[in-house]
């Protein structure tokens, strides 16, 4: 099978004006992916499915990922030279910028006919707040139907062109998107004997903290 760079070049030649770029995966798994822009995503998906060299007929997995806003610090180091040209000291200039967050949908594609894969596609929404649409690939692979509904339910991505976009796992009256990183659960804490970690923070809000020392062992649970 061709490499991802060759595939990208072929796609750019076939669909001029499309946004296709390779996202490298730094870990040992080396599963790199193609980032697609929303305008040509469905046409590219159809091409990937029907192209005789690729024949990616199985969409194995559709995942939603929430990337919250991130503060990125850029450091610029400029050396200060004296009259002779040697470095006296290095000036560091730090600027912080906000990389706005977005929601991402990752598709893992395999070919059953030609037995190769995976080819990984990524689609990103514009932001996490009001522009959360993405093109639906359900008309291309039927397997995306329920999985895109799940991404809509848990992350809030609205898929254009999905035949039946409604909540799948939570009840219809539910208002939040629970898998987002900034989801706050309803405060429903119940007593636990040994709370720790994030649960301890909740516990402190509901029950008085124990006194330190051996005398703290005497506590009664009353109902």
């Amino acid at each position: 099978m061709e490499t991802l760079e060759q595939l990208r070049d072929r796609l750019l030649a076939r669909f001029p004006g499309a946004e296709v770029s390779v996202v490298t995966n730094p870990g040992p798994a080396a599963q790199h992916s193609l980032l697609l822009g929303p305008a040509h995503a469905r046409a590219i998906a159809l091409f990937l499915r029907d192209d005789p060299a690729l024949k990616l007929d199985q969409c194995s997995n559709v995942t939603g990922v929430d990337w919250p806003d991130k503060q990125i610090t850029d450091t610029v180091r400029t050396p200060v030279l004296d009259a002779a040209g040697a470095t006296v000291r290095i000036l560091e200039e730090k600027t912080t910028r906000l990389r706005p967050g977005y929601l991402e949908i990752v598709y893992h594609l395999y070919s059953i006919a030609l037995r190769h894969g995976p080819v990984i596609l990524r689609l990103r929404t514009t932001n996490r707040t009001d522009q959360v649409t993405a093109p639906s690939l359900t008309p291309v692979w039927r397997a995306c139907e329920f999985q895109e509904r799940e991404v809509f339910d848990l992350f809030g991505v609205v898929f254009d062109g999905h035949p039946d976009l409604r909540r799948i796992l939570m009840w219809p009256e539910f208002k939040d998107h629970p898998m987002r990183k900034d989801y706050v659960e309803p405060d429903d804490y119940e007593w636990e004997p040994t709370p720790h970690g994030t649960v301890l923070e909740k516990a402190k809000g509901h029950y008085p903290p124990p006194a330190a020392g051996p005398a703290a062992k005497t506590e009664e649970l009353k109902n």
Partner: protein, 210 residues
Amino acid sequence: MSDAPAITPAERDELRRHGILLTSLQELYTWGNSNSVWPLNFGLACCAIEMIAASMAKFDIARFGSEVFRPSPRQADLLIVSGTVTKKMAPQVVRLWNQMPEPKYCIAMGACAISGGPFKQGYNVLKGIDRFIPVDIYIPGCPPRPEALLHGLVELQKKIKGFQLTGPDAPRHLRADSQCDFPVPEFGEHDLDPPANPEVWKAPTIVRTK
């Protein structure tokens, strides 16, 4: 009744050997009740598989009287809540409980039914079915072995045999003032509405001495 001399168990045994059974209405009632507890065919998650295993040949719940698992709540006595109760499923569980006729009992099988279990910190997990319906027996485990379920069933039978038919200690179905219809929670925007039934469950308070 209070004037009659008490019969010792030895005398009772002697009479029984002659074919005369002396008993009280309470004993007969609780004996029949406890030895024919029919569970509802109700399995939620992993504990349901151990419940099915308990009804199969190796562990055989039928020899304890639970011969048939009824699919309809109208014909069942026992609700074995086996598995995680999610908030989406909770109204249906309460509705099923309401449809079971008295006398009815509830066993919370597994950690998830008792308190939410390993999935407790979850936005869709109800932290224990005892928030909405009264539970008689709690069986810890994840999943509890089928023998543990049988032990729980035997404990329930002991509890039933200890019922008093009259008086303030009578069980729920024999008291005129008890509530038999439990309110079904609604789906709210962020959580169930109400999140718990205050008459059935109260959050435990801690009294720290010293």
